[in-house]
């Protein structure tokens, strides 16, 4: 009996060696099959198809019957001389420059206000602010198409009522304004998410630090600007990466709300790719645009993933 007990203890102390066994060695065949089959499928659908897409971008063929006739960088040269490509890139840049700081700034404000309230109030208001983020871009685009409607929309009606005189802005019809309307609505949809992330960050700061600062006579404003917000850096970075990826690959919302218009004023890279590939059936050019998009996203995501996995090991 005693020997058995010792034996048990021995095994518990050597849990590391139990963990270290090779998979499949101990009756885990059903798990191994699901694991390998699903990973093989996922890797084929992710890396296999991305590779296929890159290959396609070096070919020339019209329609879906692909004759893999290599043409080198022709499709990429085409992008360089496509004026809409430059407009699209510029609009993606506008999203990066306006949508990201807007969402992070408003998210920080909301997070601090929510934290100040605390308790049930915090939960209630947070639920309201996060609601848009849970919705489909098709839903929110449809909502904002109505909000921005020139004659009957809420935005113009409210502005007129508030200012006491007719003020009609052509939010989606004026090529100089449409992109800003898109960005404003996107900040509405994403700021609840950034607030959620920052609020989680605030909650992770030890109470003792806050109390120490309070004893030292710091005001609420100083507490947030000197103690809380500087410690949110990793949370701001992670929200930044999510927003950056979105700013690069934004598609559904713009496709439904403006479809790139008026003219080509709200085109973004993903929308241009979609139209060139599926409206003009220029698949190799679409594939080249998709490859450019993918390269941009991956150059943000991979360093971030490497950084966070290294942190996890420490």
């Amino acid at each position: 009996m005693e020997a058995l007990l010792n034996n048990k203890l021995f095994f518990i102390h050597n849990s590391q060696s139990l963990r270290g066994r090779n998979m499949g060695s101990h009756g885990s065949l059903p798990l191994t099959i699901v694991f390998i089959a699903s990973l093989a499928t996922a890797f084929f659908f992710i890396y296999g198809l991305i590779g296929w897409n890159v290959l396609l971008s070096f070919t020339k063929s019209m329609g879906l019957i692909t004759s893999y006739e290599l043409t080198g960088l022709t499709q990429y040269v085409k992008a360089g001389s496509d004026p809409v490509f430059q407009i699209s890139l510029k609009n993606n840049l506008m999203l990066i420059v306006l949508f990201i700081p807007g969402s992070i700034g408003l998210g920080l404000l909301l997070a601090v206000l929510l934290d100040l309230v605390g308790g049930r109030g915090e939960t209630l208001y947070r639920t309201i602010y996060l609601l848009p983020f849970s919705l489909s871009f098709v839903t929110t685009a449809s909502m904002w198409a109505w909000m921005y409607n020139y004659s009957y929309g809420v935005v113009n009606t409210l502005l007129t009522a508030l200012l006491g005189r007719a003020l009609q802005v052509n939010w989606l019809g004026d090529p100089n304004i449409a992109l800003y309307s898109v960005i404003l609505a996107l900040i509405w949809q994403f700021s609840g998410y950034t607030a959620l992330v920052f609020l989680a960050g605030i909650k992770s700061i030890p109470e003792s630090q806050i109390n120490a600062a309070r004893i030292d006579g710091a005001s609420a404003f100083q507490l947030y600007t000197r103690i809380v917000i500087p410690q949110l850096k990793p949370w701001i970075l992670s929200a930044f990466v999510v927003l950056m990826v979105f700013a690069l690959k934004a598609f559904d919302f713009i496709y439904v709300l403006t479809n790139g218009g008026p003219g080509v004023s709200t085109y973004v890279l993903a929308l241009l790719m979609f139209r060139r590939a599926f409206f003009e059936t220029d698949f190799p050019y679409g594939a080249a645009l998709a490859t450019i998009l993918f390269t941009m996203v991956i150059s943000v995501v991979v360093p971030y993933l490497l950084l966070s996995s290294r942190k996890g090991e420490k």
Partner: protein, 271 residues
């Protein structure tokens, strides 16, 4: 943390809350108005004579799309959750060589723009005969859901103490038995987190639906987007359709929001 909220804080939060809810309110009021009233009144004002006509009309236009979405969303949610649970268990509890590298390579799949696979995906689904079908949509959504579902379950199993499993290992239980008898029953919170996350994101998808389906096989998202293009003048029907399409997600959000939030934060916590 501070609990020093002044009246001003509440006033600012309330004004912001009304602003955030304004688009929802205008969807509701417009969806309940007749064609005439939509043009005669401003959208913030509630309908004087509420009518269900726009809702019935939108439901009629969208019912096939809603059914399609419900089918492949349910199938793909269940399948990807089960696969994610097995993969998360394998990567967390049955350690093997290069597990971290495999996980990292899989994690990239969470962020990739699907535009980078969509053209070859048409060929793949066509060649295998699942293009323009519920089965095809199920397969595609399940497969691209594997990375995030694996992440959710790996995170969950990483928190599960080894000691719980070791007792069973000493008794000679196989990994499969440990998974089925211990890990699986304990992982119901991970199933809810993964389930609500997958359900909402697959229901919300647009790109796969618009490229891989046509006509009567289109999901609700594509049908609604098409509605906006064709019946732009009938704003009450458009808003009714928006309401109906958003309803399942809003319901999930209001009932299981705390699990959905944990899903949203899963990526951020890693940072």
């Amino acid at each position: 943390m501070l609990n020093k909220a002044s009246l001003a804080t509440y006033i600012v939060l309330t004004i912001l809350a009304f602003t955030y809810l304004l688009p929802f309110w205008s969807v509701l009021t417009t969806a309940l108005k007749s064609d005439v009233e939509v043009r005669m009144t401003i959208p913030i004002v509630p309908p004087s004579n509420p009518t269900t006509m726009p809702l019935l009309k939108a439901l009629e236009l969208m019912k096939q799309g809603l059914l399609n979405s419900l089918l492949f969303t349910s199938f793909a949610t269940i399948l990807s959750s089960i696969i994610g649970s097995v993969n998360g268990f394998m990567l967390s509890k049955v350690k093997f060589k290069h597990a971290d590298a495999v996980f990292l390579a899989l994690s990239v799949g969470i962020f990739i723009p699907y535009h980078a696979v969509i053209i070859p995906l048409i060929t793949v689904t066509s060649k295998t005969g699942v293009y323009n079908s519920i089965l095809g949509m199920t397969i595609v959504h399940t497969t691209y859901g594997i990375p995030i579902c694996t992440l959710f379950f790996k995170n969950f199993f990483d928190e599960l103490p080894e000691s719980i499993l070791n007792a069973a290992r000493i008794d000679g239980a196989s990994d499969f038995t440990i998974y089925r008898r211990i890990a699986l029953p304990l992982s119901w919170p991970a199933f809810i987190i993964t389930g609500v996350f997958q359900f909402t994101s697959i229901w919300n998808d647009f790109l796969f639906g618009v490229v891989l389906t046509k006509g009567s096989n289109q999901p609700a998202s594509v049908v609604l987007a098409n509605l906006l293009g064709t019946t732009a003048a009938e704003w009450n029907v458009q808003m009714a359709g928006t309401f109906i399409y958003a309803l399942p997600v809003v319901t999930v959000y209001l009932l299981l929001g705390k699990y959905l939030i944990r899903g949203y934060l899963a990526g951020a916590i890693k940072g």
